[in-house]
């Protein structure tokens, strides 16, 4: 296993080793299924989420990730199985009896209340003392840098500011677990990237478990300590970002997380003498002159560059192999310009990669 993946794993395992409460498991799914009529949204999911970790549920729409989140929050009840929150079976409890809070996709801010009243809401309904309430509201707003806006109505805020209010409103309750349902989906790219960094920083500051639902693999890889990749109601793989990216457990994971080349069994036999299908990341392939010799542990394949896509920091080449099949190769634009990159189009090239980077999958 690669060092990054292993260190990621260690961080996750620590609370368990230190013997923290309930063995450090905050949320546990035990054979959980959820059916809506005839369709199965979640299909026999087993999952353990550790205390204090930033955990992502990653998958395409319809993969069951949001349903999983809604079952933790209590908006849906599992058709089968149990959901355990810090050692207590909560499968039948209503949302207001659970020690979790949610940041909704559309923020769900109360339009008739000011920013401060929105943040105060959870404390008010739980009848926290007045003095403590105003102190905690102020602290929460300070954490998301929104003190100047406390008197405004949500309609008078920008998308990014509403997002922060939603976050403050959830965190002011000091939940054990914070659930986030694609909270950055409505923001533009720049703001989204800023908020990714900020969310991660806030999570480390408050130290509570974040469970983050997203279909954006980059977001999941950037922020998570661990993530689960979901497809058709089932979990395909659970692991650290590096594990999931470097060693995808299935062709689906390889394809969904980043761009990947899937080499079928026949082509695999021809190229590298292995019998199983494998995946290969485009950035692990070197594109060299036709005459260059492969290193001792390297596999070589010859082909012709069919398409060049210049992406600014990298260039992506689509190479048709001589014996059939196509590989995508990316190369950093260390010194070449777009014109130089485009000149490669139509050229005969040789592709080299290390055998270590081939990941066998059951296709």
């Amino acid at each position: 296993m690669d060092p990054a993946a292993r260190s990621g794993e260690t961080v996750v395992e620590e609370p368990r080793l230190s013997g923290a409460e309930a063995a450090g498991v905050d949320v546990k799914f035990e054979r959980v299924s959820k059916r809506f009529g005839d369709s199965v949204a979640v299909d026999g999911v087993d999952l353990e989420i550790m205390s204090g970790e930033f955990f992502s549920l990653l998958g395409p729409s319809g993969s069951g990730k949001t349903t999983c989140l809604r079952m933790i929050a209590g908006f849906e009840r599992p058709s089968e199985g149990r959901i355990v929150l810090h050692g207590r079976d909560v499968s039948g409890l209503p949302p207001y009896d659970r020690d979790v809070n949610t940041v909704f996709q559309d923020y769900a801010l109360f339009p008739h209340m000011t920013v401060a009243e929105n943040v105060d809401y959870g404390l008010k309904v739980k009848k926290v003392a007045k003095g403590e309430r105003s102190q905690r509201v102020a602290d929460s707003l300070a954490m998301v840098q929104l003190e100047p806006f406390e008197g405004r109505k949500p309609a008078a805020l920008s998308g990014g500011q509403r997002q922060r209010v939603a976050l403050a409103r959830a965190l002011v309750n000091r939940p054990r677990v914070l659930l986030l349902d694609e909270p950055l989906g409505a923001l533009d790219l720049k703001l989204r990237q800023e908020m990714q960094v900020e969310l991660k920083a806030i999570q480390q500051e408050v130290g509570i478990t974040f469970i983050y639902v997203t279909h954006d693999q980059e977001e999941a890889l950037t922020m998570s300590d661990r993530l689960a990749v979901m497809s058709k109601g089932k979990i395909e793989q659970v692991g650290s970002p590096a594990e999931v990216y470097e060693s995808p457990a299935s062709a689906f994971v390889a394809d969904f997380v980043g761009i990947s080349n899937l080499i079928d069994a026949a082509t695999a036999a021809r190229l590298s003498g292995t019998s199983a299908a494998f995946t290969l990341r485009p950035e692990k392939i070197r594109m060299v002159e036709h005459s260059a010799a492969p290193g001792p542990e390297e596999v070589a394949a010859d082909g012709r560059v069919e398409q060049v896509v210049y992406l600014g920091s990298v260039t992506r080449y689509h190479v048709d192999l001589d014996g059939g099949g196509r590989l995508i190769v990316t190369a950093q634009n260390l010194s070449q310009s777009s014109t130089e990159a485009l000149e490669v189009q139509g050229k005969e090239v040789r592709l080299l990669w290390s055998r270590d980077n081939q990941r066998e999958v059951s296709a």
Binding site: Y96, A108, F110, K124, K153, A155
Partner: protein, 272 residues
């Protein structure tokens, strides 16, 4: 505001203004004539009006029959409005919140009385009250007027409330529960403030509808008199004509003011 004037030719603009004027005149000139005659000093309605006076207002106010009718109308309108507010919003909650068999049918049946001819509703209620009279001693009274009015007032409240509920994001209720609020707290702090203006608007419209209703009233009131019924009964008596005009003026005001306020309340405001 400049855009239309740049797009439409001058002739079209003038034509549209004239058209609008004609339609408004068609709607409001008859009402204006009634209001004008309420201030006519002469007993008979002759044009032009020679002398203006407010004496008929005092005479109408001291008329015991009219005061009884006014009292009945106000009581009936307030009661029908209250019944409509409770039942109409409960029906709206049920249709909006729960998916049940026949939901669309219930929704349709609730709205239907609005389109049903008043005379049919009236006949049906009349028959039902007679039937009720034989079974458990129901008799024509203020109570049956209220029941009759409630049938179409419920629709108005239901329509207002369900429109507001449909515009409300479903996650607001979930957010409230998520933050620890139980059903009652969610109703009090989130749902009710959100629906407040829709309820007030629906209630005012229901009041206005009930206050000037005549068809259903005729079939359900028996010997009880309401303001519209008094007008209807006295319209043909020449010596009552000035007082009829005064009462009509009062009914116009009592209908216009609630409708105007209701319209203002349901205007789309960004923070509504």
């Amino acid at each position: 505001m400049r855009t239309p004037s740049n797009v439409e030719p001058r002739a079209v603009r003038i034509g549209m203004r004239i058209g609008t004027g004609v339609v408004l005149a068609f709607l409001y000139v008859p009402l204006f004539v009634i209001v004008l005659y309420a201030f006519n000093a002469a007993q008979s309605q002759s044009w032009p009006i020679e002398e203006f006076t407010t004496k008929w207002f005092g005479i109408a106010w001291r008329n015991g029959q009219i005061r009884d009718a006014l009292g009945n109308s106000v009581k009936a309108a307030l009661s029908a409005m209250s019944i409509a507010l409770v039942l109409g919003s409960l029906a709206a909650f049920a249709v909006h919140r729960f998916r049940f068999f026949g939901r669309e049918t219930v929704s349709f049946l609730l709205v239907l009385p609005l389109a049903l001819p008043g005379i049919v509703t009236g006949m049906a209620l009349n028959a039902a009250i007679n039937f009720g009279g034989q079974i458990f001693g129901l008799s024509f009274s203020l109570f049956t007027i209220i029941l009759g009015h409630a049938t179409f007032c419920i629709v108005v409240v239901f329509n207002n409330v369900i429109a507001r509920l449909r515009r409300m994001s479903g996650s607001l209720v979930e957010a409230s529960q998520d933050l620890g609020a139980d059903g009652w707290q969610t109703f009090k702090y989130v749902l009710l403030p959100h629906l407040r203006t829709a309820l007030v608007a629906g209630g005012l419209l229901a009041f206005a509808l009930s206050f000037d209703e005549i068809i259903v009233t005729n079939f359900t009131s028996g010997t009880e008199i309401t303001l519209p019924k008094w007008i209807f009964n006295n319209l043909r008596l020449p010596n009552q004509r000035p007082q009829v005009n005064v009462v009509a003026f009062a009914v116009i005001l009592a209908s216009f003011i609630p409708v105007y306020i209701a319209q203002r309340l349901t205007e789309d405001r960004r923070d509504g």
